[in-house]
Symmetry: C2
Subunit: 237 residues, 2 copies
């Protein structure tokens, strides 16, 4: 079986490992309460995430030079603060809110599952999040990565193939020795085109209740697991 | 005190965290015994390390394009096998010996010291070793890095300033928020020129018994510790 050769698992992070939406809502509500604001923070979180792909597209297309995700997040945040009519934040408060992305909560199975998987595999991030963001998030949530790689190190945003290829190369592995783990069929499709093996772990609550995005595997991925504990079991950890 | 601002410790690895010389001798002797060879493996290890700086100089000078340390090690190894008259190794055996650099033993205080330091600081490697080498070594020896950065990610070998600067930048930190930890006065001097804080941890046995290289601090570094446990104590961990 092809997955016998897998030496490293490469992880999508936002949505797959951490629950960005609930965490942003939590951070927004805490700040909103302190500042006595009336804001729909769920709407705010969705709008912020909504600006994610268009912001990266500017970089992917070459229309702007490499810009790390912290800076793209900040530009989107500035737009949204204006759009939602939120005023009176200090620079330090805006920066703190922007770094909410560094303080996203892991799904309940993430840390115990990764801890099991780490015994047998190299665990690397293959995220569009910049290194500092992913490192700080790992400290915050106790995520036991062996290596923080992905977009900023490759200087290409997913799903550009160089992002997957460079991550495998930095690990000293052929693409087929890496398995992409993601809650998103699209990410797995692009990883697969470059030769990575694939594991789908659906996160039905990523976009909040009632969402129907990526709840089932779109193709026959190498592994389909219900969470990271199940993934560890299926991979013999 | 300036070191109050330090958020990340960036580590030299070869010699500072791991005992490359004893480990290479151990690997050489095991292979030599299996192949019934009579080789002075201490001499071999020193000769291999002796080709380290000249090999990187070719890259630093721009005379050759970026080449990762695994490949430089391999070229040096091929030369030394000829020079020492060692014959009859298969390609797999030569590759295994080359990867002895992925299986270097930590000094006895390294893992317990790093484990304490990790509670308070981001721990990143700032080594000339390539990512796969450092990741595999961490798996082998249980080194709890938060991030594997340094030369291959920066695409500059130490002591070129870009290597230190890029590592700090990827951590999202100013140079003064990083403290370089090394057993080598030269490394600390170059880190200091770029603005990093400095911690000297002498490893008097790095070059074998009777060596007098780097046994004492050449300047008044921010911290001088006798090992990583002492470093943890001095940094309040």
């Amino acid at each position: 079986m092809a997955i016998m050769n897998v030496k490293a698992l490469t992880f999508d992070v936002f949505g797959t490992v951490v629950d960005w939406r609930s965490s942003l809502i939590r951070e927004g509500e805490a700040l909103g309460k302190a500042k006595r604001l009336s804001v729909d923070w769920a709407k705010f979180a969705d709008a912020w995430r909504g600006l994610y792909q268009p912001a990266m597209d500017e970089v992917r297309s070459g229309r702007r030079p490499w810009t790390k995700l912290d800076d793209l997040h900040r530009e989107s945040l500035d737009k949204l603060l204006a759009q939602f009519g939120i005023k009176g934040f200090t620079e330090a408060e805006i920066d703190h809110l922007n770094r909410a992305w560094h303080r996203l909560d892991p799904w309940p199975d993430s840390v115990p599952g990764l801890t099991r998987l780490k015994r047998k595999f190299v665990l690397a991030t293959l995220s569009n999040g910049n290194v500092a963001l992913i490192v700080n998030m790992a400290k915050y949530g106790g995520l036991p990565w062996d290596a923080v790689l992905g977009a900023e190190v490759a200087r290409y945003y997913k799903p550009q193939p160089e992002c997957y290829r460079t991550t495998a190369a930095l690990l000293g592995l052929a693409p087929g020795e890496c398995m992409m783990v993601a809650a998103h069929n699209g990410d797995l499709g692009h990883a697969s085109e470059v030769g990575l093996r694939t594991a789908f772990v659906p996160r039905p609550n990523e976009h909040g209740p009632g969402s129907n995005r990526d709840v089932t595997p779109a193709r026959q991925w190498d592994v389909v697991a219900k969470d990271f504990q199940d993934l560890a079991t299926q991979l013999g950890c």
